[in-house]
């Protein structure tokens, strides 16, 4: 078994675009759930809008890549408005069911043959990154040292992704420590108390929904920049994985989602390579290596249960600032 090779590939995920994308989406979810107490189970929908908005903006409307990226973020704002108006007045679990249904509606709309011309239906969209890569200032070639060795194109995606992530993290950190953020946390703890102070709870929740949704769309954007866009990526499981990453790090923290996503992906990559390798050595009770690749998902599920039951505040969270208000 090539244990060093596995560690090497695993380390590569520390800086992978997918890790950055998860971190952005988990940060958005932290704003939704950790700070505003909104039980958003439709993060995959926001991410899909970011990705499809970007790809469709370039392919169908011929926009420059940065404008197309704004189309994706704008779509997330509109989605948040449509979602929030009927549901933000409802209790938590209703919001969860509505958001999960809305994300699935979006995915089915991207999947259907009806809009094939724009969405590529089941095939998805690809080869739209040309112009984005033309703006790449790095000369072509391979850079870095193993395990962080990659082409100039992928480095450009990473650099842009990390810049977006850094700006987003700073913005969220400032926001949640502002008067606005304190009101938001107040709404999470006791909505009626904040209402009695004369604050418009609905408006605050809507603002949080929009900000978190845009962060999720940025995550989708980074995913779209690094590969192609396909509706199969934006299934309900994606939302659940991002929840796992968020709760792992700590829902009511700014840096928890980043560290949570990092741990999530490093562990995913490590286990995803380790179990098939073990299976090939015949160390897993005769499971085939394809079967063994499923074990990491089972572990994600078990981990989610254990985190929520035994450490709901996450690694970095403060027990006093429990996000699970009853």
């Amino acid at each position: 078994m090539d244990f060093l090779g596995i560690l090497n590939s695993t380390a590569g995920f520390i800086l992978a675009p997918v890790t950055i994308a998860y971190a952005l989406a988990a940060l958005g979810l932290a704003v939704h759930f950790g700070f505003a107490g909104l039980l958003n189970m439709g993060m995959a929908g926001f991410m899909a809008l970011g990705a499809y908005g970007y790809a469709i903006g370039i392919l169908s409307f011929g926009l420059p890549w940065y404008l197309a990226a704004l189309v994706g973020l704008g779509a997330a704002v509109i989605f948040a408005l449509i979602l929030g108006i009927p549901t933000l007045r409802l209790r938590g679990d209703y919001l969860a069911i509505v958001t999960i249904a809305s994300a699935e509606i979006l995915r089915l709309l991207f999947l259907t043959k009806v809009f094939d011309e724009y969405t590529g239906s089941a095939d998805g969209l690809f080869s739209y990154n040309g112009e984005f890569q033309e703006s790449n200032p790095i000369p072509a070639g391979t850079y870095g040292f193993p395990p962080f060795e990659d082409t100039a194109a992928m480095w450009w995606v990473r650099i842009v992704g990390i810049i977006i992530l850094a700006v987003a993290t700073f913005a969220v950190w400032r926001l949640v420590n502002s008067p606005w953020g304190r009101v938001l946390k107040g709404i999470r703890e006791d909505e009626d108390a904040i209402r009695s102070l004369g604050k418009n709870v609905f408006t605050y929740k809507m603002q949080a929904l929009i900000i978190g949704g845009v962060l999720g769309a940025m995550g989708g954007l980074v995913l779209a920049m690094s590969s192609n866009v396909n509706q199969g990526q934006y299934v309900t499981s994606l939302t659940f994985f991002i929840w796992t990453a968020l709760l792992l790090g700590g829902a009511a923290t700014v840096f928890g989602p980043l560290v949570g996503s990092l741990i999530f992906w490093v562990l995913q990559a490590f286990l995803g390579l380790l179990f098939p390798a073990l299976a090939e050595q015949g160390l897993l009770f005769g499971l085939s290596s394809i079967q063994a690749a499923q074990i990491k998902f089972i572990i994600v599920g078990v981990a989610l249960v254990l985190i929520v039951v035994f450490r709901p505040q996450g690694i970095f969270g403060n027990k006093k600032e429990l996000t699970f208000v009853r």
Partner: protein, 441 residues
């Protein structure tokens, strides 16, 4: 004539071949110069074909080529040939044969070799680097389904009621669990899959299917008991919050779902009898005996459940806890044991629903329950969260809506209608059809 060469395999399926050199030669000798009916000849690249039924050319068949800015209709000529010029190579086009222009008694049948057929008459073709592509349609004897609108509606309604009853079995349990414990149980999907998988595994082990189904339902009940004993009861004792419980159910759902995939893989399996023939009832309404048995057993089970809930001590206790758990506990009801029974009943109904779903889809997959999880949520919310009868009404509405909506919207959007209704109902009547207002906080 050399058209004996075109007969390929399958007895019922006659291969209509296009542009087989040998064949065109034969036709050419008889019909003079072969100039296919051509549209957009000035375009640089060509999509062409030849529509024949067992060697006999079919003239006047309407064909549409669309994609990449092209949308051209063409009729086949006397030799069944057609050609459409297109602007792009290395691009995909959709070719549609209008079946109503085929002679009576023949239809486009599925190509057994390629998988890229969407609906028989609609095909995706890729114009490759050569800039030319030839299309093969498989024409075979068959009834073109010319169903009157009324028959279609009736067929869809029956199918919708069947689907709705199946959904109701799962949704009633989900709603009962919500009512007594407050959990929005995402793992209910896996309880549905469990029943179907159990029946499949047992029948693979050699049990006759009726025995496998009964045993699978019993096992489903045990599964529910096991989940309660291992996870939910300890969490109740810890006084875990509702949001935490919901996320626990999500984690559980992921873990169980991928455990299924670990064992049965990503493919689709069939229960015995899944391909039973449809029996014509009236008009063009046809149902297989499995469809009919499925509906009858669903109704019986729901009636039995209704009796249990309304008239037995346990059922009354369940309703009391749904109503007001504190008061129920204070009046001497053992909440913990009632909730355990609710989990067992919910899992039993879900397991049976899974078996019906395996026949309805048809097929067993590791994520088959997940495919209807949101419809179950839609049904319970629509009827009123936590009310058993609401779940029944909601399921029937969702079932009929999903099936009937395919009459007007493309079938790949049929679940969208139900989910949109879910959101709309929350706008106007958030407590659902049978729910009470105080349930929404």
């Amino acid at each position: 004539m050399e058209n004996t060469t075109v007969k390929r395999g399958r007895a019922a399926r006659l291969f209509a071949v296009m542009a087989t050199t040998a064949l065109s030669l034969g036709v050419l000798l008889m019909a003079g110069p072969a100039t296919a009916d051509t549209v957009n000849d000035e375009m640089p690249y060509k999509v062409s074909g030849n529509v024949q039924n067992n060697g006999a050319p079919l003239a006047g068949v309407s064909i549409n080529v669309s994609g990449n800015g092209i949308n051209a209709d063409v009729l086949t000529d006397a030799e069944g040939k057609w050609k459409v010029g297109v602007s792009e190579k290395n691009a995909a086009y959709t070719v549609t044969l209008d079946e109503s222009t085929l002679p009576d008694g023949v239809v486009v049948v599925d190509n057994p070799e390629t998988a890229d057929i969407v609906e028989g008459a609609v095909m995706e073709v890729q114009v490759g680097p050569g800039g030319r592509v030839t299309m093969n349609y498989f024409i075979g004897k068959g009834e073109r389904v010319v169903t009157s609108m009324v028959d279609q509606v009736v067929q869809r309604l029956i199918s919708g009621v069947n689907f709705g009853l199946m959904l109701a079995l799962a949704a009633i349990g989900m709603s009962l669990i919500y009512g007594t414990t407050g959990i929005s149980n995402f793992a209910h999907a896996e309880m549905v899959t469990f029943g179907a998988l159990g029946a499949f595994v047992l029948s693979e082990l050699g049990a006759p299917i009726w025995l496998a189904i009964i045993a699978a339902i019993v096992l489903s009940g045990l599964f529910g008991w096991g989940l309660d004993a291992a996870i939910w009861a300890p969490l109740r004792r810890r006084n875990t919050g509702l949001v935490q419980l919901m996320i626990v159910s999500i984690g559980l759902s992921l873990a169980v779902r991928y455990t299924y995939q670990l064992f049965i893989g990503g493919g689709t399996e069939q229960l015995p009898g899944a391909d039973s023939p449809k029996i014509k009832l009236f008009g063009s309404v046809a149902l297989s005996w499995i469809d009919m048995a499925s509906m009858a057993i669903s109704i019986l089970l729901i009636a039995a459940f209704a009796w249990w809930l309304m008239f037995t001590r346990m059922g009354k206790a369940t309703r009391a806890i749904s109503d007001n758990p504190g008061l129920a506990a204070a009046s001497g009801i053992n909440v913990d044991s009632v909730v355990r029974v609710v989990w067992i009943v919910g899992a039993t109904l879900a397991g049976f629903s899974g078996i019906l779903w395996a026949y309805f889809r048809p097929g067993i997959r590791w994520d088959m329950g997940g495919q209807i999880l949101l419809l179950m949520f839609a049904a319970t919310t629509l009827g009123g969260l936590g009310t058993a009868w609401g779940a029944l009404v909601g399921s029937l509405i969702v079932g009929v809506l999903v099936e009937a909506s395919t009459l007007v919207i493309p079938s790949d959007l049929k679940y969208v209608g139900a989910l949109v209704i879910l959101i709309v109902i929350l706008l106007f009547r958030p407590q659902g059809i049978l729910g009470r207002k105080e349930r929404i906080g």
